[in-house]
């Protein structure tokens, strides 16, 4: 399961132009300097990496059925979607 965590962190780190070691589970995308376009790109990269569909509408990020409040919630969301997939 930590594999998912590492891969999600690697994707987010790449988007933020940071080292994975600089990204913690408590980091928010805002703290990492990821804007709305960066968010949409990160979600695309996550979908491609895990072959999942992330329910996300940029018009209302907070009400989508996918919590993006920090890295931990994103990892949890990806875990759930990967599990539902299998």
């Amino acid at each position: 399961m930590s594999d998912i965590e590492d891969r999600v962190i690697a994707i987010i780190a790449e988007q933020a132009v940071l080292e994975p070691s600089d990204v913690t589970l408590d980091s928010t995308l805002e703290e990492l300097g990821i804007d709305s376009l960066g968010l949409v790109e990160s979600i695309f990269a996550i979908e491609e990496a895990f072959d999942i569909n992330v329910p996300f509408n940029a018009n209302d990020p907070t009400e989508s059925d996918f919590d993006i409040s920090n890295v931990r919630s994103i990892v949890a969301g990806v875990r759930r979607l990967v599990k539902e997939q299998s």
Binding site: I43, F44, N53, F56, N57, A58, N59
Partner: protein
């Protein structure tokens, strides 16, 4: 400077196959958005759009024409025929030499591109139809209008995403206004409701899966449309001398660039365009009775646009009416300003303001009178039409009631 009036209007879009049908639908607040119908639609997560249904190309074009006309060109010609027929103009001699056509368009022949990519990439074919390039090029529609009506003056296509038509009409207005030509054909079209066209938009995560609800607190994105709007812009004395019916007067415009972000709108850029159009038209804020909003139904546009209007108009913002007809015909991207100009003409000429349908919950960040759900009667002296494009390129037009 010359006065510029509109002496012809034509359209085809999800609300109707001509201007009377479209205006009737706008008056009734009818929704033209429905289930998309085209190949591979089941592979999309966004499956609604303002698609032109029941359209039979063979009724308007012969076989040879159809092999050369992409859907966006067909829509453009249908709208141009209606507009030019209404104007009563025939182009020959000096008038033909000076009159031209400027049209807005963003995606070009997207269905032609889609069909032929599918053929070479998916079906593995190594041969394509010889007319792929002349069908898909963005200027194809302008060129075919020029050919069909013998327009030999300045003719070209303007591509500024969602503001294309407004930029095109502003350019045509400027040419007539400045005395370069007595007549210009102007407007725009779009047809990207095909698998690749919608799939590309889907990627940006700004599309709604269920409805376009501009300014409503529960709005969740834009919905694409397709079609065309075309107008005859004519120098006033030229129109008067031949006794032409005048639909409205075009009195000014402004264009601005946000110079800030490729997709996020800017309040300052929008406000400068709105204020600039009024300045160019020499009208005061309290002369403006109606604004056809850009009103895409995205979270970002609607609150930014509302704030820009509030800034520019001050206390008068609470008195003017502003609606987004995209709630009915969808967002025609490069053609949208042209179809929306019809709502402005209806407001100043008929005194009927088209509604913003699908409006369910007030949003404190969009606290203007958006004419929710039902058209309204109002005497409108001056109307503005807003267009704020991806890329931060804005164009606003001003129309006045012709009395």
């Amino acid at each position: 400077m010359k006065r510029v009036v509109i002496t012809g209007a034509g359209t085809i879009n999800a609300l109707g196959a001509d201007v009377p049908a479209t205006l009737e639908a706008m008056r009734e607040g009818r929704c033209g958005i429905g289930e998309l119908e085209f190949r591979d639609v089941e592979r999309l997560s966004i499956r609604i759009g303002g698609q032109v249904k029941g359209y039979e190309p063979e009724a308007s074009f012969n076989r040879q024409q159809l092999s050369l006309y992409d859907r966006f060109t067909q829509f453009t010609l249908i709208a141009a025929r209606e507009a030019i027929e209404q104007s009563g103009l025939e182009f020959s001699g000096d008038l033909a030499a000076r009159a031209g056509v400027v049209l807005g368009n963003s995606g070009g022949g997207m269905t032609t591109l889609d069909d032929n990519y599918r053929s070479v990439y998916e079906d593995g074919k190594n041969r394509v139809h010889p007319f792929v390039v002349p069908k898909l090029m963005n200027n194809a529609a302008a060129s075919h209008v020029s050919m069909e009506f013998n327009l030999k003056g300045p003719s070209f296509t303007v591509s500024t995403a969602c503001a294309s038509s407004n930029h095109a009409m502003a350019q045509a207005f400027q040419m007539v206004h400045g005395g370069m030509t007595p007549v210009m054909i102007a407007g725009g079209s779009e047809s990207m409701l095909c698998f690749g066209g919608v799939k590309a938009w889907e990627g940006l995560r700004v599309m709604s899966k269920d409805a376009c609800r501009p300014f409503s607190a529960n709005r969740n994105g834009m919905v694409q449309g397709e079609g065309a709007g075309v107008f005859v812009f004519e120098e006033y004395e030229h129109a008067r001398a031949r006794g032409a019916e005048i639909l409205a007067e075009v009195i000014g415009y402004a264009m601005t660039s946000d110079a800030s972000d490729i997709v996020m709108p800017s309040k300052q850029g929008a406000a400068r365009a709105i204020a600039g159009a009024m300045q160019d038209a020499r009208v005061n804020p309290d002369d403006v009775g109606y604004i056809n909003a850009h009103g895409t139904g995205t979270a970002a546009n609607d609150k930014t646009e509302s704030a820009a209007v509030a800034d520019v108009f001050g206390a008068h913002a609470d008195k003017l009416l502003m609606s987004s007809t995209k709630s009915m015909h969808g967002h025609l991207i490069g053609g949208t300003g042209a179809v929306e100009l019809l709502a402005c003409i209806m407001a100043v000429r008929d005194g009927i303001v088209a509604p913003t349908i699908g409006y369910e919950e007030p949003d404190p960040e969009c606290a203007l009178d958006v004419v929710p759900n039902e058209a309204r009667e109002a005497r409108v002296e001056v109307a503005l039409s807003n267009a704020f494009a991806f890329g931060g390129l804005n164009a606003v037009l001003a129309l006045r009631r012709f009395a």
